[in-house]
């Protein structure tokens, strides 16, 4: 019965962090938090080991937030924490990778005794600086930097800090609202944890925490030991901002852990697409876990089984003061690099490369951006190209991976911003041909509602280097950003669509899997009938 009791409490702990996370999603302001679940919530022991984490929309916080709690404990030792304390940071290197993510860590007390820490993070609406642009050259350009600081002490808020935040961001009320939401969400966690401990009559989390970590560690180890042992190399070249970037990973499967080393990867960029190591770790661990042990809950026991290293100063271990705002541009590509290596080790288990990078439309107009004409606006809508084909399934069309975001309806976008979306449809022939076809990208065409100029903050990948297929599968179509008059735009950086112009966004497709001539004829015919492929693949095999 002891085993069952511990399992029941483990389930309860997962439910506690789930409640904590749901409360945050419902109250957050930024598009990415509410539509994409770009938040994280977890409970930690007093050494900063994560015991449970909510399953939320984006894996980017998977272990970056987990590590962040250790940084908090280093600055504010557990024995100095009091009831009603809450601590804050948005340090990209000690938080979750860019200034937009605010992390709050709070001690949780039960019967007057410190028993755990709750931590949560969300992507706020604005953090000052250049805004949602990848054009920053140093982190100093990217907005307000909040070091590890006390935010609330014994229930008393640091008003000076809040004033400083308000003065430095464009949407002060909403950002402050999000900070309050983060604190409230940790308080929900504390309350629920305390109720659970009272119900089960436990005074601390020692036995439960040990059980969770040991069980998870053992499960993760068993999964890793079931893989072939050895080292394999993956390499992928991507567009970069102004020059191509080589991402290289050596994946070593060695008994109880998987080591991923990014030696040989290009150096940091002069623009804001650099990735701090915490974010590199997050997406690497996520990619490995999807393949090796997708069902084991995330906690310190599983996180320690994936060990990530990268040369300091490389684009996947960018150091202060590198600009990091669009760090997801690199982070989202990392599972594909790791899969390139894993495919050699366990053929038939990993998908082909996909678009991977999100094709979000960040549009705006206003003073200093497009000039004084028309009403100022700023809008971000989430969209995706095609995902890579799976070994036995076609790739998902217009679906993100590894990110887990959800789109914004066109009708909502048009209601809140002066734009008209004339087309949003699957892009025929964009999925890489193969026995399993890559997922299709989509085409969007956007105009200003009143013909005024507007700008786009582009952070698009796969424009020059498309997603590659596996085992003879063809690459997906490359992405393309242009105007309806034929003008080609760059995949990265801020650009203006002139008055009356129409922006055409052709999103990339995923790579195919296996030789196209082995495609099931019925599936090929279905694609042709649906108009998803203009040239039926049957003709290829007739050659």
């Amino acid at each position: 019965m002891r085993d069952i009791r511990l399992q029941v409490m483990w389930n309860r702990l997962l439910s506690v962090v789930e409640e904590q996370a749901r409360a945050l999603v419902r109250t957050a302001f930024s598009t990415s938090a509410r539509e994409a679940g770009d938040i994280s919530a977890g409970v930690f022991d007093l050494e900063g080991r994560m015991l449970a984490q909510a399953v939320t929309g984006t894996p980017g916080h998977v272990n970056s937030m987990a590590r962040s709690v250790v940084h908090f404990l280093h600055e504010f030792p557990a024995d100095t924490m009091r009831p009603g304390d809450h601590f804050i940071t948005n340090d990209p290197w000690k938080g979750t990778g860019h200034l937009y993510d605010i992390v709050i860590t709070s001690p949780a007390f039960h019967d007057g005794k410190l028993v755990a820490l709750f931590s949560c993070t969300t992507h706020v609406v604005d953090i000052g600086g250049l805004g949602q642009s990848p054009d920053g050259r140093q982190v100093y350009h990217e907005g307000l930097f909040i070091p590890l600081l006390p935010l609330v002490r014994g229930g008393v808020w640091d008003e000076s800090l809040l004033r400083m935040v308000r003065a430095n961001v464009r949407e002060a009320v909403q950002v402050e609202g999000d900070i309050h939401a983060l604190v409230a969400c940790n308080l929900i966690g504390e309350r629920r944890l305390s109720a659970m401990m009272a119900e089960h009559g436990i005074a601390d989390l020692d036995e439960l925490g040990t059980h969770i970590i040991e069980r998870s560690q053992a499960g993760m180890e068993a999964a890793i030991r079931a893989l072939p042992q050895g080292s394999w190399d993956g390499h992928m070249r991507i567009d970069g901002y102004d020059a191509p970037i080589d991402l290289r990973a050596r994946v070593t499967i060695a008994g109880d852990h998987v080591a991923v080393d990014y030696a040989g990867t290009s150096g940091a960029s002069a623009y804001g697409i650099n990735c701090p190591i915490c974010y590199t770790e997050a997406y690497t661990a996520f990619g490995v876990k999807c393949i090796a042990a997708p069902t084991i809950p995330n906690n310190a026991g599983t996180l320690d089984a994936v060990r990530v290293t990268a040369p300091e100063g490389s684009i996947v271990n960018a150091l202060h003061p590198a600009a990091v705002n669009a760090r997801s541009t690199i982070g989202h590509m990392l599972p594909d690099v790791v899969y390139g290596a894993l495919h050699q080790c366990i053929p038939g288990r990993v998908p082909a490369e996909g678009t991977s990078n999100l094709w979000n439309l960040k549009l705006g107009a206003g003073h200093g951006i497009t000039g004084p004409t028309g009403q100022p606006f700023m809008v971000t809508t989430f969209h995706s190209g095609g995902a890579g084909a799976r070994p036995r399934q076609d790739g998902l069309s217009a679906t993100p991976f590894p990110s887990g975001v959800r789109n914004v309806p066109v009708e909502i976008t048009e209601t809140v911003a002066p734009v008209v979306v004339w087309t949003k449809e699957l892009r025929p022939d964009s999925g890489g041909a193969g026995r399993q076809r890559g997922g299709l990208g989509q085409v969007m065409e956007v105009e200003h509602r009143h013909g005024a100029p507007f700008g786009i903050f582009a952070t698009f990948e796969r424009v020059h280097y498309p997603a590659r297929g596996r085992e003879g599968g063809q690459p997906g179509a490359a992405g393309r950003l242009s105007l309806a008059d034929g003008t080609v735009l760059k995949g990265k950086g801020f650009q203006v669509i002139p008055a009356g112009g129409r922006l055409v966004v052709e999103m990339p497709g995923g790579g195919g899997y296996g030789p196209p001539e082995e495609r099931n004829p019925a599936a090929a015919a279905r694609d042709a009938e649906a108009g998803l492929v203009a040239k039926p693949l049957m003709q290829l095999s007739d050659k």
Binding site: N11, A184, T399, G404, E425, E445, A530
Partner: protein, 675 residues
């Protein structure tokens, strides 16, 4: 008045007949090929049982899973979609998301309309209602010709922003009616005039998809009832918890999905009123799923978001979204037939897959070998092997034990604990999402498996009381007879509260009232009606609206209403932020006063137990003798102490040690659980 309720479920068709406080019930197997057969046969049987004549019936209320099943099994009409050029893939692109983060093998549900039958025509309305491009009627006629060639049976029309400016959809409807006589048409501006193109198109398509099937069924049922000599009006149960006329059901059949659970919730509401419960949770646990609904101040939680046919472990986002008025409930894959196993970490997992009725749990002895919740309940001693399902299914305890042995030590207790914990987690997360708490409520348990698990679930949720109503096994049908005749109308009209135009809103609500009244008056010509207005509002910049009850149409009152609703949900407001409203609803219902609380009956001694059984309590791990009582032998005023089992045909109520149970004036079992 003699009133009949008929609930067609996946396995059984339940019938309940009521007259002046007297009631009869019966159950027979559903006849999927022609569901009206079981309805007509059941009606004949129950009238014979009650010794009444068909002509004496004053009302027939009917709920059916037919529409839901057609959507799940993809057995609806050959359906096509006409949409704005450039948007034919909206329903395939859906939310562009993966609902299972770590599963690289995940698939999204196939759209109900394949791509060749999704056709864009040139036209465009802007967000403010302006016409950016007129409807190309010739193009539409050409599309209609293709549909004719392809033998299309139903067409859904969904243009962007049609909820703001209907003209293009209305004109398209006229043209399609001319070009495609006899084809069922659904316009999004009628079915779901609400912002968000994917959800609106999905709802309109689902409506079109089931329309021919439901029209045929309802026609056959009506004539069948007529031939049987029944002249009583026929009303249909909707997912909203209201009933409507056959005519409305034919036009908007999508509103009939999930009517069974809605009936259960309506029953729970009546029980809460009878017992004077201010805060309750309705708990319905059957063979495949469990459903939980929150009740506050006798009000059911309502929502306009629902997903049919969740294909993937009941995960949110894996089904077909429909925007219809529904009673908000959380549904999880936890029922008597749910299969238990150990995962890679050695943890017991229960469900969401179910052994169903074939082969069923191992203890049925029909070839099932995987351990289920019912097997665990049997092994714990909670079920009398000779009394299960009224004795119609003899239980094989040895097979239950053999199936559970594969799970290792303490398996039966482990399975029961984990399934109860899973349901408790779902209830807690559901409550927090609605800004509520489960503690100190009363659990109202019905459905075959609920009374077995209710006491433990209540304890996990911090509740001290459980009520098991009479006829818990046919709860939904009982609920049908208590449902008001109702209809809800929705409109999207984006408005900032600081720029509120009360005149526009008044006109909007007047039009909505007229539309709702036309529908409700069909079924309730002379009755008094209750109108409920709701605005769906948010802080400008947020992505989700919250429901705000509306009393007065002025900016200050709306703002105050929003602040109160927001604070109730999230515990705070944000004073300096603007508020905007997107969508408005008006619900109109006949006034159905809820019953008043019944007085406690004088206490009377309980009879001696019919037998004793060894029962294991998973909460304590202790095995001891429990007193077995026939529910029929317990009269109002009688009380017992746990450990005890109260047995009836359709279920068994588990009363653990430390709990008491008494029978109230209405014959309901009331458990009090010490904390």
């Amino acid at each position: 008045m003699l009133r009949l309720a008929v609930d067609i479920g996946g396995t059984f068709t339940d019938l309940v007949l009521e007259e002046d406080g007297q009631s009869w019930s019966t159950k027979l197997l559903t006849t999927p090929a022609a569901p009206e057969q079981a309805v007509l046969e059941g009606t004949r049987r129950i009238l014979a049982l009650a010794e009444r004549q068909p002509a004496q019936l004053g009302l027939v209320v009917h709920g059916t899973t037919l529409a839901t099943n057609a959507l799940i099994e993809r057995k609806g009409a050959r359906t096509a979609l006409v949409t704005t050029e450039g948007f034919r893939d909206s329903i395939e692109i859906a939310w562009e998301h993966r609902f299972e983060q770590y599963d690289i093998h995940m698939e999204r549900p196939e759209p109900l309309v394949p791509r060749p039958w999704r056709r864009g025509v040139p036209e465009r309305i802007a967000a403010d209602g302006a016409v950016l491009k007129p409807l190309d009627e010739a193009a539409l006629r050409a599309v209609a010709a293709d549909f004719r060639r392809d033998g299309i049976e139903a067409v859904a029309v969904c243009f962007l922003h049609s909820f703001t400016h209907e003209a293009h959809e209305r004109r398209a409807g006229e043209i399609l009616a001319e070009e495609l006589p006899g084809v069922a048409l659904s316009l999004s501006c009628e079915v779901a005039p609400e912002i968000r193109e994917y959800e609106r198109a999905s709802t309109t398509i689902a409506n079109a998809y089931v329309q021919p099937l439901m029209a045929g069924y309802l026609g056959r049922l009506e004539s069948g009832l007529r031939e049987a000599g029944i002249a009583a009006p026929l009303l249909l149960m909707m997912s909203s918890g209201g009933v409507t006329t056959v005519e409305t059901a034919r036009r908007y059949p999508v509103r009939l999905v999930e009517s069974g659970p809605a009936g259960g919730a309506i029953l729970a509401q009546a029980v809460a009123a009878e017992c004077g419960l201010d805060r309750a949770v309705a708990f319905d646990m059957g063979g495949t799923t469990a459903k939980l609904t929150l009740l506050d101040g006798l009000e059911l939680q309502r929502s306009r978001q629902f997903e049919v046919a969740r294909a993937y472990r009941f995960v949110q986002g894996s089904g077909i979204p429909v925007r219809i008025p529904v009673i908000e409930l959380v549904e999880i894959g936890a029922g008597g037939g749910s299969i238990a196993r150990r995962d890679a970490l050695g943890r017991i997992q229960v469900g969401p897959d179910s052994a169903g009725s074939v082969p069923g749990p191992a203890c049925y002895g029909n070839g099932g070998t995987e351990p289920t919740v019912t097997d665990a309940d049997a092994a714990l001693g909670r079920l009398d092997p000779a009394r299960f399902a009224g004795g119609s299914i003899p239980l094989h305890l040895d097979r239950a034990a053999a199936a559970l042995a594969g799970l290792g030590e303490d398996a039966a207790a482990g399975v029961a604990e984990i399934v109860d914990e899973t349901m408790a987690s779902a209830a807690r997360v559901h409550a927090v999402e609605n800004g509520k708490d489960t503690a100190e409520r009363t659990l109202i348990a019905f459905g075959g498996a609920a009374p077995l698990h209710a006491a433990r679930l209540a304890r996990k949720l911090g509740m001290a009381r459980v009520v098991v109503p009479v006829g818990a096994g046919v709860g939904s049908a009982h609920g049908f007879l208590r449902a008001p005749i109702a209809y809800e109308v929705v409109r999207t009209r984006h408005m900032r509260l600081d720029a509120l135009d009360a005149g526009v809103l008044e006109a909007l609500f007047a039009a909505m009232r007229a539309e709702a009244e036309a529908v409700v008056r069909l079924g309730a010509p002379g009755e008094a009606l209750v109108e409920t207005r709701t605005g769906f509002m948010r802080y400008r910049g947020q992505g989700h609206e919250i429901a705000v009850p509306i009393t007065t149409l002025d900016a200050a009152a709306l703002r105050a209403g929003f602040d109160a609703a927001y604070a109730a949900l999230f515990g705070r407001t944000i004073p300096r932020l603007e508020v905007e409203a997107l969508t408005w609803t008006l619900a109109l219902a006949t006034s159905r006063p809820l019953p008043s609380p019944a007085a406690e009956p004088p206490s009377r001694p309980a009879p001696a137990p019919a037998a004793w059984r060894m029962v294991l309590d998973p909460a304590t791990g202790l095995r001891e003798e429990a007193a077995l009582h026939e529910r029929a032998a317990l009269a109002p005023g009688m009380a017992l102490e746990g450990p005890a089992l109260v047995v009836e045909d359709a279920t068994t109520t588990v009363v653990p040690r430390g709990a008491t149970v008494h029978v109230n004036a209405l014959g309901q079992l009331v458990l009090e659980i010490a904390s």
